[in-house]
């Protein structure tokens, strides 16, 4: 082997010996295999979730499971509508509160604040993302819920004429608190991506607006916002994906009531929270377990769709450049 390798390398010295090329080929194969493994993993992931969730779908139907308004462990009846609705309400609250603040913070940091404050502000906004979910939950339970209750009651009393928001008697843990915690949690990611998008606005466009005699805000509205609209939409959708899938903090402050709450300040449940709470007891009840895995699958598909859409928006902005 060694002799023949030497012979070959003598006859064609430019091509190198197969022996010396072996590590190269091995590395290439190993790295490619890793990449293949990732794709396989995700496919496997989906299939296993589906197989384990099938008993629930078989008993209640895919549509029935997702849209029946009845989740009762004691009767072994599982219709996930209250969870889906809770997930959507809390995510909506999170977006309504979190996205405008995140965009405003991104604009302030990239365009308005003094240059020296930019670094510290960016770090602090990013640190919001470093606080663990369970710590937000802990804070929510023992600080946010009791401190905000009077304010929530005041708001719902004042707005008594608005359906769903007004005229409620505020429950301690509720949809609004869950949404508020989620807003805080999605803020850093939405803000960070918005900042990135805004950083790609060419200086040319900003200067063109300023050279027309635009004020700073007019420059933002003329040059920056239209250019980054698609990217900001994408950032908001990534935030939505986060809000839908976030588990522990919401579990602690949502009230864990498997029914559709009658108003914004009522207790509820979300898909992720029900899994975290009930899975421990469900391990030995096959249909309950299947229902929870099915809830996980619904969650998975939902976040997948939202994230895929977000990518489309974020990538679209490159078409403008």
């Amino acid at each position: 082997m060694a002799a023949s390798a030497a012979a070959i390398s003598q006859s064609g010295s430019l091509r190198g010996s197969p022996l010396s090329r072996l590590p190269d080929r091995a590395l290439r194969i190993v790295l490619t295999a890793l990449a293949v493994a990732i794709l396989t993993l995700i496919a496997f992931f989906f299939i296993r979730l589906y197989v384990e969730a099938r008993p629930a779908f078989a008993r209640f139907g895919v549509f029935g499971f997702t849209f029946n308004n009845d989740w009762d462990v004691s009767r072994n009846v599982f219709g996930a509508l209250p969870l889906v609705v809770g997930t959507l309400i809390t995510a909506a609250v999170a977006l309504i509160i979190g996205v405008p603040v995140a965009i405003a913070a991104a604009l302030f940091v990239t365009e308005l604040c003094p240059r020296r404050a930019r670094g510290p502000l960016t770090i602090m906004l990013d640190l919001l993302a470093a606080v663990p979910s369970v710590v937000y939950g802990l804070w929510g339970v023992f600080v946010l819920i009791p401190k905000l209750k009077p304010a929530e009651q005041w708001v719902t009393d004042k707005l008594h004429f608005i359906p769903f928001i007004g005229g409620a008697s505020v429950a301690g843990p509720n949809y609004f608190i869950g949404g508020l915690i989620l807003a805080i949690m999605i803020l850093p990611i939405v803000s960070a991506i918005t900042r990135e998008v805004m950083a790609t606005v060419p200086a040319d466009h900003k200067e063109a607006a300023l050279a027309l005699g635009a004020t700073r805000w007019e420059m933002i509205r003329t040059a920056i916002l239209p250019y980054s609209r698609a990217g900001i939409t994408g950032a908001a959708m990534l935030g939505l994906g986060r809000a839908i899938g976030e588990t522990i903090a919401v579990t602690l402050v949502i009230g864990n009531a498997p029914r559709i709450g009658s108003h914004l300040f009522d207790q509820g449940y979300t898909l992720a929270a029900v899994i975290a709470n009930e899975f421990g007891e469900a391990a030995n009840n096959p249909i309950h377990r299947a229902a929870l895995i099915a809830a996980g699958l619904v969650l998975f598909v939902l976040t997948l769709l939202v994230n895929a859409a977000a990518r489309v928006f974020i990538n679209r902005r490159t078409a403008l450049a």
Partner: protein
Amino acid sequence: MTVSLSTHAETPLEQKRRFEHGGTTMAAGHRVSLKNLSAWYEDQHAVKGVDLDFEPNKVTAIIGPSGCGKSTLLRCINRMHEEIPGTRVEGEVLLDDQALYSDAVDVTAVRRAIGMVFQKPNPFPTMSIFDNVAAGPRLSGTKGGDLRERVERSLRSAALWDEVKDRLNQPGIGLSGGQQQRLCIARAISVEPEVVLMDEPASALDPASTLRIEELVEELKTRYTIVIVTHNMQQAARASDTTAFMLDGELIEAGPTEKIFTKPDDERTERYVSGKFG
């Protein structure tokens, strides 16, 4: 994209000006003077104590090798230089008698009076041809028929109207490079400035488009004071009345274009215009 809050109504002066711009009457031009102007990027002294006058209704070309500070000088005139962090300006820029760097002066007013055209055509990519030109007037509350009239007038002045009048709603970035640059010129004059600064406006364009821009500059000088930065000496010779030569941040020499290109006083100018360096 509307400015809803503005209650700004045209003053009689503005109406008069509008009339003048619309008609063939030549507006009285305005003079820009630089007094001992210096500019820095961080520690780098990019413009060194320049004294220079830009005559009304004349085209002044600033020439010089790259990095000589000519673009920086131009950006000092409408106070765009200060948009870059870490920069500094000393000395004075006067528009007629008004010191543009005095504390009482609003920077947005300066830029409205002194328009700018950039090196690379930079129409707003998300806006239509119409909206690109309308963006400036809209800021000060112009709308409806007035706005359409203003857009048409600006596009006509930029010699672009006939080419785009049937597709005003199409995106501005769909135009050719030369058309885009004329669109940017239309955008710059849509706010009715007194002075127009052009930073190598044809350097990204093909020769035919370059000629059109130069013809346009010749037409525009009847209404505006024009300063054009260029590294293209033929362009300076063709399009300008006065030429200023800069080297290493200093103004070496300024005078009638013909004189600068035929018998300049300074030996460095002579060597530059005859192509010996730069």
